[in-house]
C-alpha cells in the first residue's frame, strides 16, 4: 500500500477559514454517493431482478437483451454488476472512513504527545502491518464469520495503521514547532491545539490516501468473495461473479467472469485518478492562498 507522507507546503498556524478537511473529503464522498445513486437507478430500471434465477436463460452470451450476457443461474449480468456496487464500493468506503477517523485521531494524538504512547502504538502498527493481507482476512473471517460487517471490520483494521502512520509522521515534526508552543503559552487545551492547529496540516496526505485505500479495499472485498469467504451468495458482488464464471471459463463462457473483473479494474483505476486529482486540487488551493 502506498503512503503519501509529504508535508504540505508550509505548515500554518491558523485554521483555514474557508475550507477544512471535511470539505475536501466531501468531494470523493459525493462522487461515491452519486455512483451509488446511479447503480440503484439502473437496477430499478432494469427489467431483470439481480437475485432471482431464471430458468431457460442460462449462460447466454452478450446480446441486445442481455448486454453482458447471463450467468449459470440465468441472471442478467449487466444488472448484477450495478447491483453489486452496494457491496463492492459502499462497503469498502465505509471501512476506509472508519479507519480514517480512528487512525487519524490516534495518529495525531500519538505524534503530538510522543514518548511511550507513541512508541507503543508504532510498534503495534508495525506488527499489524507485517501480517499478509489476505491471510489476515482469512484469520478474521475464521474468528468472526463472514458477511458484510466482518468485511468492514477487516478493511478498517487493515487501514487504521496506514492512517495512523500518515497522520503521526506529519504531526510529529510539528509537535514542537513554535506555533504550538505559542498556543500552549496562550493557555489552549491539548484538544484545541490538536483540532485547530495540527489537524489542518495532515489534510493533504490523508485526503490523498483515502481514495487509494478505497481502491485496495475494493480488491480485498472482491478477493475474499472470490475465495468464497466474503459476501455470501446469492448477493451480487463482483468477486462472487468472477468465481461463478471461473469454473466454466475453460469451456468458453468468458463473459461471466470478464465483466465483473472489468468493473473492478475500472473502479479501482477511477479511485486512483480521483486521488491524484484531489491532491492536485489541494496543492493548487494551498498555492493560491499563500
Amino acid at each position: 500500500m502506498t503512503h503519501l507522507s509529504r508535508n504540505p507546503t508550509g505548515a500554518y498556524a491558523q485554521t483555514p477559514k474557508q475550507r477544512s478537511l471535511w470539505s475536501f473529503l466531501l468531494w470523493p464522498l459525493g462522487v461515491v454517493a452519486l455512483i451509488y445513486g446511479i447503480s440503484q437507478l439502473v437496477v430499478w430500471i432494469s427489467p431483470y431482478d439481480p437475485e432471482r434465477t431464471i430458468e431457460k436463460s442460462q449462460l447466454l452470451p452478450p446480446s441486445a437483451q442481455h448486454l453482458f450476457g447471463t450467468d449459470s443461474n440465468g441472471m442478467d449480468i449487466f444488472t448484477r454488476i450495478f447491483a453489486a456496487i452496494e457491496n463492492d464500493i459502499l462497503l469498502p468506503v465505509a471501512g476506509v472512513i472508519t479507519a480514517l477517523i480512528l487512525g487519524t485521531i490516534a495518529g495525531v494524538y500519538a505524534g503530538f504527545k510522543g514518548k511511550y504512547l507513541d512508541s507503543l502504538a508504532s510498534r503495534f502498527t508495525e506488527g499489524l502491518q507485517a501480517i499478509p493481507l489476505f491471510l489476515l482476512g482469512l484469520t478474521i473471517v475464521a474468528a468472526l464469520g463472514n458477511g458484510a460487517t466482518v468485511l468492514i471490520i477487516l478493511i478498517a483494521i487493515v487501514n487504521i495503521p496506514i492512517f495512523f502512520r500518515l497522520s503521526r509522521s506529519t504531526t510529529l515534526p510539528l509537535s514542537n514547532a513554535d506555533f504550538v508552543l505559542a498556543a500552549r503559552g496562550a493557555g489552549l487545551s491539548d484538544f484545541r491545539i490538536i483540532t485547530k492547529h495540527l489537524v489542518p496540516n495532515i489534510t493533504v496526505p490523508i485526503v490523498a490516501q483515502f481514495p487509494i485505500s478505497c481502491g485496495y479495499g475494493i480488491q480485498v472485498v472482491a478477493g475474499l468473495s472470490f475465495l468464497g469467504i466474503g459476501i455470501p451468495i446469492p448477493s451480487a458482488e463482483w468477486g462472487l461473479m468472477i468465481k461463478d464464471g471461473a469454473s466454466i471459463l475453460v469451456y468458453g463462457n468468458w463473459w461471466v467472469s470478464f465483466f465483473p473483473g472489468l468493473a473492478i479494474l475500472i473502479t479501482v483505476i477511477f479511485f486512483h485518478i480521483l486521488g491524484r486529482q484531489i491532491s492536485r486540487d489541494y496543492q493548487r488551493w494551498i498555492a493560491g492562498r499563500s
Binding site: 506488527g127 499489524l128 507485517a130 501480517i131 468472526l144 471461473a246 475453460v250 468468458w254 483505476i269
Partner: protein, 335 residues
C-alpha cells in the same frame, strides 16, 4: 557493523512478537477459540473437554506464554480434517509457494527494472508514459481475474500453456530434494521435467509479477529520475563519460538500495500474498492450503500459515536491511 546488526535484530523480534500477539488476541478473544479450532460441528461436551485441555481457563498472559512456547518449538497443533500435525503439512506445501514466489519476484525484476531505467533515461517519451500506465494498471487489476484470463488466452485459445492444475505434468517423475521442482529436475538432469515445471510456473508467475511487482517499476523509474538529476551525475557527464555508463553503472548503483529493499519486501510479501493466485491455478502452496482448510472449517492451519508468512516477511526484511548496509557505506556510517 555489529551494533547495527544487533539493533536491527531486536527490532525484528519485537515486530514478530507483536504480530503473534495480535493474531493471538484475534483468535482467543474475538471468537471462541475452541470452536475456532474444532469447527462448528463440535458438541458442547467436546468443547468443554478441549477448553480444559487447552488451558483456556488459565490467565490470558499464561496462555500467551504457552502459545509462544508452542510456536518456538514449531508446534502448530493438529489439522482437524487430516489428523496430521499442521507443521508437517506446512512443510509439504511450503516449497511450492517458495518456488512460485522466487520465480515471480525474479520475473518482476527482469521485466520491470530495465523498463524503469529505460523510462527514466528518456523522460516524457512514450516509454515513460507506458511505464506509468503499466503501474496504474498493475495496481488496479484484480490478480485472480488476470490469472483467469491468462489461462483463458494461453490455455483455452492458444493452447500454449498447460492446464492450470499443479506444478508439473503427471507423467514427469521428479525426486524431491529441495522441493523446488526446477532445481530438483536440474540436479537430476531430467530436462523434460524441468521444461514441464517451467511451463506450469509460467502463468502463475506472470500473474503475480504483473500485479504485485509493479511497485518495483514505479520505484526504479522514480529513483533513476532523481539520481540522474544529481550533481555527481552532472559531473560524470561533464568529465566525458558515455551516457550508457552514466546511466547503468554510475546512476543505477545509487538507485540500487531502495530497489533491492523493495524487491525483497515484495518477495516476503508474496509468501503470504500468493493466496489468490494459488487458488486460481490450484498451485499446491501454503496459500491454497490455508484456503482449503478454511473451506473444511479447519482453522489451525490458517493460523499457522498466517504466522509463518508474517515471520518470513519480517525475516526477509531484516536480511535486506543488512545487505543494504553493505552496498551503501553511508548507511553503516549513519547508524
Amino acid at each position: 557493523m555489529l551494533s547495527f546488526l544487533v539493533r536491527r535484530m531486536i527490532t525484528a523480534t519485537i515486530t514478530i512478537v507483536v504480530t503473534v500477539a495480535v493474531i493471538f488476541i484475534i483468535t482467543r478473544k474475538l471468537g471462541d477459540p475452541i470452536a475456532f479450532m474444532l469447527g462448528p460441528r463440535a458438541t458442547p461436551e467436546q468443547i468443554n473437554f478441549f477448553r480444559e485441555k487447552a488451558g483456556l481457563n488459565d490467565a490470558l498472559g499464561l496462555q500467551f506464554l504457552n502459545y509462544l512456547r508452542d510456536l518456538v518449538s514449531f508446534d502448530f497443533g493438529e489439522s482437524i480434517s487430516t489428523g496430521r500435525s499442521v507443521s508437517s503439512e506446512v512443510l509439504l506445501y511450503l516449497p511450492a509457494t517458495l518456488e512460485l514466489v522466487t520465480f515471480a519476484t525474479l520475473t518482476g525484476l527482469i521485466i520491470f527494472v530495465p523498463l524503469g531505467v529505460y523510462g527514466a533515461s528518456r523522460r516524457g517519451s512514450l516509454i515513460a508514459k507506458i511505464c506509468d500506465g503499466v503501474v496504474t494498471l498493475g495496481v488496479s487489476i484484480p490478480s485472480f481475474w488476470l490469472g483467469l484470463f491468462l489461462i483463458f488466452i494461453f490455455y483455452y485459445i492458444l493452447e500454449l500453456a498447460p492446464p492450470p492444475f499443479g506444478r508439473v505434468s503427471g507423467s514427469s517423475n521428479v525426486e524431491s530434494v529441495t522441493g523446488f521442482l526446477t532445481i530438483d529436475s536440474l540436479i537430476v538432469g531430467n530436462v523434460s521435467a524441468l521444461l514441464s515445471a517451467l511451463s506450469y510456473l509460467a502463468l502463475p508467475c506472470l500473474t503475480l509479477a504483473l500485479t504485485s511487482c509493479v511497485p518495483i517499476l514505479k520505484l526504479t523509474k522514480e529513483m533513476m529520475v532523481s539520481v540522474l538529476k544529481s550533481p555527481y551525475i552532472r559531473t560524470a557527464r561533464n568529465l566525458g563519460l558515455p551516457e550508457r555508463e552514466v546511466v547503468w553503472k554510475l546512476a543505477f548503483k545509487n538507485a540500487l538500495v531502495p530497489i533491492l529493499t523493495l524487491s525483497a519486501m515484495t518477495f516476503g510479501f508474496l509468501i503470504g500474498g500468493s493466496v489468490l493466485v494459488e487458488t486460481v491455478f490450484s498451485w499446491p502452496g501454503i496459500g491454497l492450503y490455508a484456503v482449503q482448510s478454511m473451506y473444511k472449517l479447519d482453522y489451525a492451519p490458517v493460523l499457522a500459515v498466517t504466522i509463518i508468512a508474517t515471520v518470513s516477511f519480517v525475516f526477509v526484511y531484516f536480511l535486506v536491511d543488512l545487505i543494504s548496509a553493505i552496498v551503501d557505506p553511508r548507511i553503516r556510517a549513519k547508524s
